[in-house]
Symmetry: C2
């Protein structure tokens, strides 16, 4: 599915709690799905610890390589929230207290702006705010990097202010053919024939098994909807005779 | 928590289905938790697409930088399962059909070993098998790299054969002080004092909020259990007077 015009993004998840296994990340999937509606391909994701050197190096690599980078986590008021400092360091700029955040927090906490809370008002020079419609201070954007919260509800809220800023691509259309009662070993040959016949499409096989049976979800993805839909029919035809218990066309 | 003797690992998740948002990864968390019991620190994770160049470059970077790399996904029989080929390419070795896998599959499928199934019998020269106690062919190890399935049940089963092969480190002890009814803005100052007093520990704050209330889980992690436990008590003492609705000590 190579495409010179495609729009790409990477996700950088910042947080010891993900790497320790304490927290199950769900932001990656939410961001991937959100971006897909704008035709933006998530092409890489990284999870890094709360370590400035790691964050700076990873961010500088990703932001130069891809059209956009979305980071999650580390923008709260505690000492382990080092994302703003690290992003500023990556860009070689200073942090400053954004007056709109100071005003918002002054209203929220009746003027009790201790040092920890003031930390959350800092954004890098050259940055703009990303609205937080849920709770707490905003995120920010600097150049092609969006810096969002780690708490999933807040992250999802902030994403709504990211989409309108993106250069959009052609949306990928995905369809699934769900095959039950036949293993991948039998499905592989007809699938490969189709994959070779349609180099512009991405064909994947995702097996499942459990108490209710086994089989595989065969996923066809591409930017040409007509080709995707036609390939679904070619695939269903090709699968007659493999001995499947059922073959079902599914959206997405 | 810097430690010259610590044992490190990275995870490489291989799969377009994770980057498209179709599938919610859970392998990262399972691996992180599993490794922690062996005192092995998961220090980095990456999600890469089904693309040989990306897999080779990422693997070669990670395997040279850290003690171990665990990969998940892409070891099935279909054309998009390119992990074995990519790992062999990263090591500059060839793949060969492992006789034990051929024997196992011949028994399983009564001799019907088509080309797709034979693909799953291939492991890189110099590799050893990683047992699969669940279903299907085994994974493999080559040097410091473990190549496991992507299906979570199978991945977890294979992990059981990884642990005994690891050089073990000193296990990290983690304790949580759960504070309800007080925001991070108030908790930050006492937490930072403790973090500075205990540079060998990692102190993190993970806020939560929802219909039942708000607060933060303050997590203390370190390899010296006595210091962790003593710091929990110092933290609980320091939090008297912050106006919390409850302060609760929790294991892990």
């Amino acid at each position: 599915m190579a495409d010179a015009d495609r729009v790409t993004a990477a996700v950088m998840i910042i947080g010891d709690e993900i790497l320790s296994g304490r927290t199950q990340d769900t932001n990656l999937r939410d961001i991937a799905r959100y971006l897909s509606a704008f035709g933006v391909d998530l092409v890489e994701a990284r999870v890094v610890p709360d370590d400035e050197t790691e964050i700076v190096e990873t961010l500088n690599h990703l932001r130069k390589r891809w059209d956009y980078v979305i980071t999650t986590g580390g923008i709260g008021p505690t000492h382990d929230d080092i994302t703003a400092d690290s992003v500023a360091a990556a860009f070689g700029v200073k942090l400053y207290e954004h007056p709109d955040i100071i005003a918002m927090m002054t209203a929220r906490w009746s003027g009790e702006l201790n040092a920890a809370r003031r930390r959350m008002a800092r954004i890098p020079e050259g940055g703009t705010l990303v609205k937080n419609p849920v709770q707490g201070p905003p995120g920010f954007q600097i150049d092609n990097v969006f810096v969002l919260a780690g708490v999933p509800q807040i992250m999802r809220g902030m994403l709504e202010d990211v989409g309108p800023r993106l250069r959009t691509g052609k949306v990928v259309v995905a369809r699934t053919v769900r095959v039950e009662g036949t293993g991948e070993g039998v499905l592989a040959a007809p699938l490969e024939v189709l994959a070779k016949a349609h180099p512009a499409l991405s064909l994947g096989s995702y097996p499942f098994f459990g108490p209710d049976g086994y089989g595989s979800n065969l996923v066809i993805r591409g930017r040409n909807e007509a080709e995707v839909l036609a390939t679904v029919e070619e695939l269903v035809d090709a699968l007659q005779g493999v001995g499947a218990k059922s073959i079902e066309r599914m959206d997405a």
